[in-house]
Amino acid sequence: MSLRGISLRGSVAVRLGCAAVLAMVLASCSGGGSSSGKVSEVRIGLVFPTSGAMAVLGNDQENAAKMMLNWANDHGGVGGAMIKIFTADSQSDPGSGATAVQRLIDQNQVQVIIGSYASGISQAIAPVAQRNKVILWEVGAVSPTVNASGGQDFLRTVGTSASYAGADVDFLLHYLAGKLGKPAGQIRIGVAHEDGAFGTSVSDALKALAAQNGLNIVANEAYAETSSDLTPVVLRLKAAKPDVVFIAPLVASTPLFWQAAKTQDFNVKAIIGSAGFSAASFLTKFGAAGIEGVYDVEPPAVEFMNTTNLSADARTVLDTLRAQFKTQQGHPCLVHCGDGLGGTYVLVKDVLPRAVASGSLTADSIRAAASQTDIPDGGTPQGFGAKFDAKGDNTRAISVIMQWQGGTLKVVWPSTLAIAQPIPMPSWSQR
C-alpha cells in the first residue's frame, strides 16, 4: 500500500468526519428550535383540512388561528419575537395530515404545529410531532383518544367530548329538570350517536356521567354516519318514550335524523345535538321555524355569546377579530372560528411569551411554559380559562349549550356566557 493511498484514505476520512459533525450541527438547528440566547423568531405551522370533506369548517379554524397570529405580530410579536407562519393542507385525510406536518418540520423548521379540526387527523399528526420534538397545539379535535398515551408534546385548548356530555348533564340537572318538574333521576334520557370516534366518545362520557348522577338513560342508539335512512333510529327512540334526547351526529346524518323525527312526529321536551345541528345547512334545509328551540352543545359560537364577563383583553381581542373575520370571510365567527381564535389566543398571549422569555424555544421550554398557564374563567375569547393537566388537556375548557331562536344560534347556558334565555321547544304540530 502506497503512502499516497494512505494519505487519500485519511483525507476521505477527515472529510467524512467533518460532514458528520456538520450534519449533527444542522440537525440540532432543526425542529427543536433555538436553544440558547435571545429568541427573535417563532416558526409556527398551521395544519388544517382546507380541502376535502372537512374543508368548510377546517378553513374557519385555520383562518381564525391565522388571524390571531397576525394580530400578535401587529402588536409586537410574542415576547418581542415575531411569528413566521407556514401552512399546509391535511386534505381531510389523516395520512396527508401526517405528511404535511413532517414536511413543515423538515422544510420550514417549525417549532409549533397548530391543528387539526378532526380527531382522526389529530391522532395521525400527534406521533409525528412527538417524534420530532415539536409541539402540537390542538384547537379543534375533541376525542379523548388523541394523545391517550400522554405524550409531552401535545397541548389542547378545546374541551374533549367529555365536555359535551358535561354540558348536557349540567344543563339537565340545573335547568331542564326544573322546567320538566321532575327529579333528575326520573327524567327519561334517550341518546343517539354516530358510531365513529366522536359520537362514541360522547356517548361513553354521557353513560359515565349518568351513572355518577343517578340519571336514567332509556335508549342508546348507535348508527353509521353513512346511513341512508334514520327512521329506525327515531322509531327506537320513540318507543323508549324519552323526555329529552342527546344526539351526537356528524354533518351528513343531521338532516336525515331531523326529517325522520318530523315524519314520525317524534316529540320530546328538548333535543340537544351537535356538529350538524349548528351547521348553516341545517337552517337552510328546515328554515327557522323548522328548527326553533333545538339545542346544540359545542364550544361557543362566539358571534352570539355574552362577552361582558370576559376579561378586558379577551373581550377587546374577540370584538376586533370576530368583526374582522366576518368582513373577510363573509359569515360570522361561530364555533370553529372560536376554536381557532380562542385556542391561538392562549398560545400567543400566555404560553409563547413565557417560553420566549426563558431564552430558548424548544418543545420542552414551551411545555414548561404551558405548565405554568393559569388563566381564570373568562380570560379567553371562548369564555373559559386555561390550565393544562399532565396529558396536555385544558382542564378549564367547557362546552356550552346553544339554542336556535329565530334563525340564530344563541348561547343560552351557562348564564355567564348566555346571550338569551332558553325557550321551550315547540312540538311538530306547533312549528
Binding site: S51, G52, A53, M54, A55, V56, S92, D195, E221, A222, Y223, A224, T226, S227, S228, D229, T231, P232, V233, L235, R236, A239, V251, A252, P255, L256, Q259, K262, T263, Q264, D265, G276, A279, A280, S281, T284, K285
Partner: protein, 289 residues
C-alpha cells in the same frame, strides 16, 4: 306501531335503491359494463338538480326532464370517449377506468361546489301523509311511485322498442348482432346514455329527501350493485323486487334488533342468497330482462 312504520320506511328506502339500480341494471346487468362510477354519477345528477333549481327556481321534480337529458348526454360522452376504448378488453380495465372516473367526478364536485351540504326544497315534498297508522313524506310517496314507473319504463323499453331489442341482441351476441347490421358501438353508447339518464331520474326524485354533498351517491352506488346482482343480472323486475326486499329487511332489522348491525345483516343476506342461488333470485327465469 313500530313494525308497520318500519315496513313502510323500508319500502320507501327500497324504492330509492330500485331507482338507483335501474340505470345500473341496464349498463351492468344487460350490457355487462362494470360501472363503478354509478354512485359518483348519481352525485353529479343530484348537483344537477340543485343547480337547475337555483338557476330556474323550479320545483325539483320539474327539473327531471332537463337533468335526465343532461345525464344522457354525459353518459353518451363517457361511453364513446372512455369506456368504448376498453370494451372487448379485460374486465379489470373497465373496472379501473370507471373507478378512476368516479374519483374524478367526486373531486370535481368538491372543487366546484365545496364540501358543505346543499339542499333542494320542494314546496310539498316535506308534507307528511298518514295512512293505516304509518307516516311518510310526500317526497317518499313520490319516490315510490316514480320508482315503479321507472322500472316499468325500463321493461317496456327493453321489450317493446327496437332500440331495446337491439340492446338485448348486442348484449347476448355482439358478433351476430353486428352481422345482422346493428351498429354495436352506437348501441353500447345508447345503452349507457339511457342508463345514465335513469340516474338523472333517480336524482330528481331523491334530491328533496337527501342532503347533497360530494359523497352523497357513494352508499347508493354500492347498494345498486348488490340489488342488481341479487335480483339477477339483467332482470328488471328481479332488481326491483330485490331492492324492496333489501330495503324492508334493512329497516325492519334496524328497528326491531339493531340499527348498527342492519347494514351487516343486509350483506349477510346477500352472501347467503348468492351461495344458495349464484345467478340471483330471478337470474335464470328472466335472463334477458
Amino acid at each position: 306501531m313500530q313494525l308497520p312504520s318500519a315496513v313502510a320506511s323500508g319500502i320507501a328506502l327500497g324504492a330509492i335503491y330500485a331507482l338507483v339500480a335501474a340505470g345500473l341494471n341496464l349498463v351492468f346487468g344487460v350490457v355487462k359494463i362494470i360501472n363503478f362510477a354509478q354512485g359518483a354519477l348519481l352525485t353529479v345528477a343530484l348537483y344537477g338538480v340543485w343547480l337547475f333549481q337555483r338557476a330556474a327556481g323550479l320545483d325539483p321534480y320539474l327539473t327531471l326532464p332537463a337533468v335526465a337529458a343532461v345525464m344522457a348526454g354525459l353518459g353518451y360522452l363517457i361511453q364513446a370517449g372512455l369506456i368504448g376504448r376498453v370494451l372487448g378488453k379485460e374486465r379489470t380495465s373497465q373496472l379501473l377506468i370507471t373507478f378512476g372516473l368516479a374519483m374524478v367526478l367526486k373531486n370535481l364536485c368538491l372543487v366546484l361546489w365545496g364540501a358543505d351540504n346543499r339542499s333542494v326544497t320542494s314546496r310539498y315534498g316535506d308534507r307528511v301523509l298518514g295512512f293505516l297508522g304509518v307516516r311518510m313524506t310526500v317526497a317518499s310517496v313520490v319516490a315510490v311511485a316514480g320508482s315503479a314507473l321507472t322500472v316499468a319504463f325500463l321493461y317496456l323499453f327493453l321489450h317493446r322498442t327496437r332500440a331495446g331489442t337491439a340492446i338485448r341482441a348486442v348484449a347476448q351476441q355482439p358478433d351476430s348482432a353486428e352481422l345482422a347490421g346493428i351498429n354495436v358501438r352506437r348501441v353500447y353508447a345508447a345503452a349507457f346514455a339511457v342508463g345514465t339518464a335513469l340516474i338523472g331520474v333517480a336524482a330528481s326524485l331523491m334530491a328533496p329527501i337527501y342532503p347533497i354533498h360530494p359523497g352523497a351517491g357513494d352508499s347508493f352506488g354500492i347498494m345498486a350493485f348488490i340489488v342488481v346482482i341479487l335480483g339477477g343480472l339483467g332482470s328488471v323486475f328481479g332488481a326491483a323486487l330485490a331492492a324492496l326486499l333489501i330495503g324492508v329487511l334493512q329497516n325492519v332489522f334496524a328497528t326491531l334488533v339493531s340499527v348498527q348491525l342492519s347494514t351487516a345483516f343486509v350483506f349477510l343476506v346477500f352472501i347467503v342468497a348468492m351461495i344458495a342461488r349464484p345467478s340471483g333470485i330471478f337470474g335464470q327465469k328472466a335472463r334477458v330482462a
